[in-house]
């Protein structure tokens, strides 16, 4: 696999990917928890900086929407396609469909939140910060579990 080839060429395992993703995600959850908005979110226009608050690529695209889980399952499913062009094309359509639906779900979720007041959104942000932090730790744990499995030869 092209992506799998790149990872194995660099000697990077999906477990390492999970751990690094977890660490980075944890860092992203901290400003959500404490209500700081350094870099990630600018409360006022004057504070906007081109790169500083860009959450699109990190953490939203990677690792939230395309994380170790998505990459691992894509590698597995590509294997199952066994080089069949029809399946690979079909798989590409499936990937496109999943992300199109995801776009719709995220846009809808945002509209629902917009109807709640500022105070409620603040509370929810903190709670979600805790969940995001826990999710980040879970990534790290899965990475460690996967690494341990490789060590004892169960994988």
């Amino acid at each position: 696999m092209a992506g799998g080839f790149l990872l194995s060429y660099l000697g990077v395992t999906v477990d390492a990917f999970a751990i690094s993703g977890g660490v980075l995600l944890f860092i992203a959850s901290v400003p959500m928890l404490f209500g700081h908005r350094p870099g990630l979110q600018a409360p006022e226009r004057s504070e906007e900086r081109a790169a500083g608050e860009d959450i699109a690529i990190f953490p939203l695209a990677i690792p939230l929407l395309s994380g170790p889980g998505a990459i691992t399952s894509v590698l597995l499913l590509t294997n199952q396609a066994r080089g069949d062009l029809v399946r690979l094309a079909l798989f590409a359509v499936v990937i496109a469909a999943v992300y199109t639906i995801s776009w719709g779900v995220l846009a809808a979720g945002d509209r629902v939140m917009a109807r709640l007041g500022q105070g409620k959104v603040h509370i929810i942000t903190r709670v979600l910060g805790i969940i995001l932090a826990a999710l980040a730790v879970q990534y790290i744990l899965s990475g460690l579990a996967g690494f341990y499995a490789t060590l004892i030869g169960a994988k």
Partner: protein
Amino acid sequence: MLLSVQEDLLQFALRAFVTLFVVVDPLGVAPMFVGLTTGMDDARKRAMLSRAVAVAFSVTFFFSWPADFY
């Protein structure tokens, strides 16, 4: 014969869809998206969302192609 081949394809597509949908987990990411974009105006949120989904698709798609195509 033809029908069974198609059924097999459908099964593969369905399995791929369900697997990927569960791991991408848009319903779980939606609240995170809201939390991360707090304080941004709508146009900016939309731009972030579209870019994020485009990048996520590209990365995932990149991992879905076998090495022998290169």
